[in-house]
Each structure stands twice: as C-alpha cells, then as structure tokens.
C-alpha cells in the first residue's frame, strides 16, 4: 500500500466520516481528499461503502459522525440541491430520465433555477460542443441509447458548472469506443480544474484514467494508490483482501446441438423495443456462447423468445434438445431442460415478498418441490438451504425474504437455484451485473463447470471482459440482428466493438477462423 500525498488546499476533504445502518456500518471513519483537477478513483466491491459515501457527499444522506470540508471551509451538505449549489454534480448509475420528455425538458427539471427554453437550449448546445458530447436538446429521450442518455446526464451536471463531478460506475453500459469518448471528456474537464470522483470496480479503466485511487473494503479505507503504478493484481488485492483468481476455460470438444434458433423474427411489444430479424444461432452441449451488445438492441426480446415468455408463430424457430419449442410456454420449456437466469433479479427471477424457500418453488417443480398440486415446503426449505450453502449466499437462512438480500447475493441464489435444477440448456442474462468481484468469480466459475459437465450455456451480457473470459464463441446482437458466432480465441475486442454498432455484414467471412466450436 502506497500513501499518496495530496495538496493542502483540497477541493473536498472528508474527515472521519461514519455512517451506521441498523445492522451494518456502511462507512467507518473514512478520510478522503480530492484535489482540484484530480481524477480520483473510489474503488471497492459492492457493499464496500462507495455508494453510501457518495450519497453523503451529494447530500442524499447525512453522516453519523465526521465532517466535510469544501474548498477549505467546513460544510454540512443537507440536500442534493445544496450540493449542486456548492458545485457538486453527480451522474447516477441509473439515469433519472423521463422518457416522454425531450433532452431540454429533462435537463430543465433538474436545474436549480428556471431558464427560458431558448436560453437553456443554447447553453446545452454550448456545453455539449465544448466537451464533445453531441446531443440535440429537442430530441425525445425514449429513443436514445444508454450512452446518449448518459451524455444527457453529464450535460445536465455540467450546466451547473460543477467543481466536483461524481461518476457512479459510468462505463458499465458503454461500448469500448464510447468508453474512450467518455474518458476524453473527463480528462478535458480535469484539465479545466474540475475534480472527478470516479466510482468503479473495473481495474483496467481506473489504471488508464485515474490519478489517485482510494480503495474501500468493508466500509473502511483499505489503501490508497497511484493506479498507474499498480497492477490489476495489486489493486484487486487491496479491494478484495485476497488474490483474485482468474477463470480458466479448458478446451473441450463440443457436444450435440441443444439450442437452435432458425430464422427467428419477432416483433417487439414494447413501443421503444427492438424487433428481432432473422436470428440464427446454435449452442452445443459443453459450450458457452456469449452474446455481446448494448442493451436495447433486442436482448430483451431475444431472451423472452428463448425463455418462452413470448411465443413465436413459426414452430421450428426455437428448438430445444431436438424438439420444436417455439410454441411452448416457459414451464413446458423447463421440462425440456431449459433453465433461465433473467436480468431482473427482483420481480422476475425472484418474488420480492416471498422467502427463499418459496422462491425455489417458483421454478423447482422438476426437483420435486411441487407434487400432486401441493407445495412440499420441507423439500423446498431443504433445497433452499443446500443452494445457500453451495453458492455461499449471505442471508438470514432459507426463510429470509428475497428482497432482504443484496443484489449480488440474490444473483448467486438465483444462479445457484437454476444450476441445481440440472439444466441441459442454461440461459443467463447479465450474470454479474452489479455483482461484486468475489461473487462474479464464483458465478462465472459455476457457469464454466456447468459447461464442463456438458450443458449448453448461452450468456447475454454487456460486459465484454466477462464474455471474453468465459465464452467459447461470441456473437453480437445489434439493432435486432445477430452476427455469426465466432470463436473467442483470436477475436479482437475492437472487432466486437465495431460489430456492436451494427456493422457486421461479411464479418463472418472476414474473421472466418478455422476450428469453430473450439
């Protein structure tokens, strides 16, 4: 651990900030100094206390102890409005955008002062040009990609001329190219003297972008470092407290075709969704196929078509284990061996108000948790207990309500439940989104073991690093069309990035490497 000296006149200084909730200490005597014009990373796993700390800085919650200095003077930040008046802006991980309003209207909603529409539009234009963030103030936001929405949020913050900008996991939804554009903007802001607090758990990005990193673990500062001088391993050790292991994907001969999509076309039901066009895909047993792409390009529709939540008209468009399945409902597809981990954990993968044992009953009919029209509660509890133990789910036992678990733990539980239901075909959406590093590793490893045991695994994810780490083959879904699946070995991230924009005509021919299937 290296100690980094910071200039005396810090823009923001936190002294001994503590915040306790009923059962946990979210922040324990945290000190943090951010200098003017510094890009300061706040690194830590989920639950390490990053979000709580940022909520305190942005005035959303108040600390129990400790003090905050803003440009040398002690302040109490009572509300986000006050934080913005001080010059603190925050770009949230989940954008607070009203889809039915235009860019300008959305921005006007969050400004402290009222501006005439024309003035506002002019200022939006000015800011967006100055920082290379092209957006049209008059455009409706519902058709915008995630990257564009993020631009709206950033411009919204920049309009208030902040001197400290907080970015909460800004790259989790961006293509590699969009990440570079964002970094350019952030660097330019830093050169102009804006301090940036950059929250992330992506080590590569932090090493590329940030001047200083403060690492949090279990609510405490576990170290600070100059990221450029560190390796992923050393940063990861500070973050997790132990060495990070990498997933290993041993080559394995692929088995028979388990999941087959043939010319699958499906119109979306969502007015802002994407219709699927002529999708062809084969997933074999013993193979993990990844589908990359930015959300909103048909991922939701594709998942629903495979899971059976939406039925197709052509009977053979979806085949599971050699049987036509396009007209079967999700429960019938489960009897063919399909298991599914959806992107939304609460409300779809699990019922919020029900306890974990009941949440096993949800999909556990094949494990004998329902028999003769009766719920077998004892069996369900035993199944839940075994899942909790096997996948190291942190919770208050099998009778804990699903919504009492943290996002990562609930995901471990759902993945564990589905894996313990012995899938022949496993469909997983965003397996580790918002999940901390330790749990991500466990989930990825479990998927790889499932593949090694002969199951066909299809992973849809926005996290390219993840897909490259665990997939035998990769395809890209863009604007409702799916590229050919290419072996991951020998595939460049940049190529995939280009495909993500929808440019993959002939991509198959260009990258037609031998040894398909690996």
């Amino acid at each position: 651990m290296t100690t980094v000296s910071t200039p005396a006149s810090a823009r923001l200084a936190l002294h001994g900030i503590s915040k306790r909730y009923a059962s946990v200490i979210a922040n324990d005597r945290i000190d943090l100094k951010v200098a003017a014009g510094e890009i300061h990373a706040l690194l830590g796993e989920n639950g390490a206390g990053k979000s709580t700390l940022m909520k305190i800085v942005y005035g959303v919650t108040q600390p129990d102890e400790g003090s905050i200095e803003w440009e040398g003077a002690p302040v109490a930040i009572r509300s986000p409005a006050q934080a913005r008046r001080l010059g603190i802006g925050m770009v949230f991980q989940h954008f607070s955008i009203f889809e039915t309003l235009t860019v300008a209207e959305n921005i006007a909603l969050a400004l402290n002062e009222r501006l005439p529409a024309a003035t506002l539009a002019a200022r939006i234009d000015e800011v967006s040009q100055r920082y290379g963030l092209p957006i049209d103030p008059q455009r409706l936001t519902h058709g915008m990609s995630v990257g564009e929405r993020q631009r709206v949020e950033i411009v919204r913050c920049l309009l208030q001329s902040p001197r400290l900008l907080i970015m909460d996991e800004p790259t989790s939804v961006l293509t590699p190219q969009a990440v570079q554009v964002l970094f350019e903007t952030l660097r330019r802001l830093a050169r102009e003297g804006v301090s940036i607090l950059y929250i992330s758990h992506k080590l590569d990005e932090i090493r590329e972008l940030c001047d200083v990193a403060t690492i949090l673990r279990n609510g405490r500062v576990s170290g600070s470092a100059i990221p450029r001088e560190q390796s992923n391993t050393s940063l990861g050790r500070m973050m997790v407290g132990a060495d990070l292991k990498e997933c290993k994907l041993e080559p394995r001969p692929p088995g028979p075709i388990r999941l087959e999509l043939t010319n699958l076309s499906l119109d979306t039901e969502d007015p802002f969704g994407t219709s699927l066009r002529q999708i062809n895909l084969r997933v074999r047993g013993g193979q993990i196929v990844g589908i990359a792409g930015v959300s909103g390009n048909g991922q939701k529709e594709l998942l629903a078509a495979i899971s059976g939540e939406r039925l197709c008209t052509q009977r053979a468009a979806v085949r599971l284990c050699g049987q036509d399945a396009a007209r079967l409902n999700p429960a019938q597809r489960r009897t063919l061996g399909l298991r599914f981990v959806p992107e939304e954990r609460l409300g779809r993968g699990a019922v919020p108000g029900m306890h974990l044992a009941d949440n096993c009953v949800l999909t556990g009919a094949s494990a004998g948790l329902v028999r003769h029209g009766m719920v077998r509660r004892r069996a369900a509890r035993a199944f839940a207990r075994a899942t909790i133990a096997e996948f190291a789910v942190k919770c208050d036992g099998e009778l804990a309500p699903a919504d009492s678990l943290s996002g990562g733990n609930l995901q471990k539980f759902i993945v564990g439940r589905e894996i313990r239901l012995a899938p022949t075909v496993m469909l997983v959406a965003q397996p580790t989104w918002g999940v901390d590093v330790g749990a991500s590793l466990l989930i990825r490893q479990a998927l790889i073991e499932l593949r090694n045991a002969g199951a066909a695994v299809l992973v849809i994810s926005e996290d390219l690093d993840e897909l490259f780490a665990i997939c035998d083959c990769l395809a890209v879904l863009a604007r409702g069309r799916l590229s050919d699946a290419m072996p991951t070995a020998g595939l460049a991230a940049e190529t995939v990035g280009v495909w993500m924009t929808g440019e993959f005509q002939g991509a198959g021919a260009a990258a037609g490497v031998a040894g398909a299937g690996v």
Partner: protein, 380 residues
C-alpha cells in the same frame, strides 16, 4: 433493476417541512398495527362527528357499539350480518392477492340469490333432504357464472375486470328487480314486489335459539380455514400469490395468467354467490328487490382491513357487521341519518389506506441533521 432514487433530483427541490422516506425494510409492527390504528382513527373521527351533531359522544358511543350487542339476540345479529361480509371478503381476498380486481361481489351475490332462490322456489319442495345443498350449490354456481363474464373478457380481450364486474352489479340488481316485479312475483302477495316465501325444507337451520344466525356462519368459518389452507399449501394458491406479487416472475416461471384470472374470479364469484343465497335462504326467506344493503361492496373494505388474510377477514367482518348494527341503532335512538354507517365504512377504508403507507415509508423532518461533529478532532 429498478432505477433507484431516480426522482431525487426533482423532489429534493420541493421544500416541505416533512418528507416521506422509504423504510429500509417494511415495518412488521406497522403491518400488524395498521388495521387496529385505522379502526381507532375511525372511532375518534366518529366521536367528533357525533359531537359536531350535538350528541353526547359517550352516549352516542354506547348507542353505536355497546347497546346493539348486549343481548343474545344482538350477538346473533352481529354474526348474522358478519356472514355475507365474511363470505364475500374471503373470496375477494384470494382474488386480490392474485392481482385480480373483482369489484362486483355485490352483483355476484345478487345473482347467487337469484339462482339459489329460483331453485328453492321452483324445486324446493320436490328436493326433500337435498333442498338445502341444492339451493346453496345453485347460489355458488350463479355467482360463478356472473364472475365468468369479467373473467372471460379479461383473459380474452384484456378488458378491465374492475369496470366489467362493477357494471354487472347493476345489471344483476335490475334482473332481480325485474323477476320479483314480474314473472316470479307472489300472486298472493298483494302486489308487493316479492316472491313466494321459500319452503321450510330449503331454509337454513338456525344455530342458536332466539337468534337469527344460521348455519351459513359455520360455512363461512370453514371456508376461512379452507382459504388459509389453499393459500399456504396448494400449488394453485402459490401460483396465484406469485401472480399477484410479481407478474413478471409469474411469466418467467411459466405460470398461466389466464388460469389465475379464472381461478380468482371463480373463487370470489362463487363465495359471493354463496353469500347471496345464504341471505335468501336465511334471514330474508324469499326474493325481494333488494337482498343486500351493500355487503358485496363493504366486503372490499373488509378484505383490506383484514389485510387479505383469512383470520384478518374473519375479525374485520365482525367489525364491519358491528358498524352496520351501530348505524341502525344510531338511526333509531339518536335520529342520526342512515349515512352514518357509510361514513364509518368510508372512514375506515380511508384511514386504512393512510396507515398502509407507513408500512413501507416513514415520515421524517426534512432538515434533521446531526450537528456536524467538530472538524479536525476525528480521525484526520
């Protein structure tokens, strides 16, 4: 994942002295206390209203809540009026838990009265020992048939079951009115719009000497147990709960929405039909233009005051029944308007909904701040 805190930038600009804050966990204490709290608030409001009307609140309270119940007959009346409320509310609770909003229990009750009463009128004497079961079954089937209309329209055409079931209430009432004014009118009834009295063989036996409470009350209690068993142990009950709590999770697990809608409508419609026939074959003993003073609507309140739980529904139907009795007593002894019962019912629902909010939220002063600890001293 839900966008957390997405409204923060908008709402933090409004400077209210108090603000609602989402609790980290729904409060278990508030969950239990919300119904009793609502009942207390309703009582307090009632006493204020009595005072405003120039009545002595304490005396009025006695007239409303104590006097109706201080005789065996009074207790019998309490259970008698609780019976249809309990039956309707038990069915509605099952339905509401599945997110199916049957608002038309009053209509299904009316149709149950028509079909049950009709069977009793035309076949009663011929059925012998089978008279009572046949009449009760006919009532259940009548309620189900009426509920089948919104179920069909909702599951086929996504028509709102709220409106359809509500509108069908008035159709059922007009149908009953037509029957007793026309074809089914008692020729010996001096032109009163009512049917012949039902034969004794189909009337429900009384439970207690000197009271009017009948075997329907026992049926309601048995159904309460059954509905508890259905909700907690059967797969169908489980699927309905999932459908109500998280429709997306139900779709994910392959639970048929259509089946849930039909089950919910059949259960709630059948129970309401049973309530209707129990009135006709019980205290009324014949068909007349009005067979219910709004039990089917009051049962909606009962279901919610009982927090959609069978035990809660049993208790809430007794409370609601007491309100009916108290309202009658207040009309007779204090010359208060009949709308007093309606005021109590509405007040109860109003306070209940208000109290429910505090299960998930709490009120905090907007600018409560722990005086910032002196700087420098801490772990700097």
């Amino acid at each position: 994942m839900p966008p957390r805190g997405s409204l923060v930038p908008v709402f933090d600009q409004l400077h209210w002295p108090l603000r609602l804050e989402r609790r980290q966990k729904p409060s278990a204490a508030m969950r239990i206390c919300s119904s009793p709290l609502a009942a207390l608030a309703m009582l307090a409001t009632g006493l204020l209203v009595f005072a405003a009307l120039g009545k002595d609140p304490v005396a009025a309270f006695r007239v409303f809540f104590v006097e109706p119940l201080n005789s065996t007959y009074g207790v019998g009346e309490l259970l008698l009026k609780a019976t249809p409320l309990m039956l309707c509310a038990l069915g509605l609770a099952v339905s509401y838990r599945a997110n199916v909003w049957n608002i038309g229990a009053e209509g299904q009750l009316t149709l149950g009265a028509i079909t049950g009463g009709g069977v009793g009128l035309f076949f009663g004497p011929a059925l012998g020992h089978w008279g009572q079961p046949a009449v009760l079954s006919a009532g259940v089937l009548g309620g189900m048939a009426w509920a089948a209309i919104p179920a069909l329209l909702r599951s086929r055409f996504r028509t709102s079951e709220i409106f359809v079931s509500l509108m069908l209430v008035y159709i059922a009432q007009l149908l009953l009115s037509y029957l007793v004014h026309g074809p089914w009118r008692d020729p010996a009834g001096q032109n009163f719009p009512q049917s012949q009295p039902l034969s004794d063989s189909v009337l429900l036996p009384s439970l207690l000497q000197g009271t009017r409470v009948n075997v329907g009350f026992i049926i309601a209690l048995v159904l309460a147990l059954l509905s508890w068993w259905f909700g907690t142990t059967t797969a169908a009950g489980f699927r309905m709960r999932v459908g109500g709590l998280a429709p997306a999770a139900a779709a994910y697990a392959g639970i048929s929405e259509r089946r849930n809608i039909w089950l919910a409508m059949m259960i709630s419609g059948g129970a309401a039909g049973l309530a209707g026939v129990c009135e006709v074959a019980g205290p009324i003993g014949m068909l007349q233009p009005v067979v219910s003073p709004g039990y089917g609507f009051a049962a909606i309140i009962v279901a919610f005051v009982g927090r959609l739980h069978p035990l809660g529904v049993v208790l809430a139907s007794l409370l609601m029944s007491a309100l009916y009795l108290g309202g009658e007593s207040a009309q007779m002894e204090l010359q208060l308007p009949a709308s007093v019962s309606g005021l109590f019912q509405g007040g109860l629902l109003f306070y209940l909904l208000a109290a429910e909010l505090f299960i998930g939220f709490r009120l905090r002063r907007a600018h409560r701040l722990p005086s910032a600890a002196p700087a420098g001293g801490g772990g700097a």
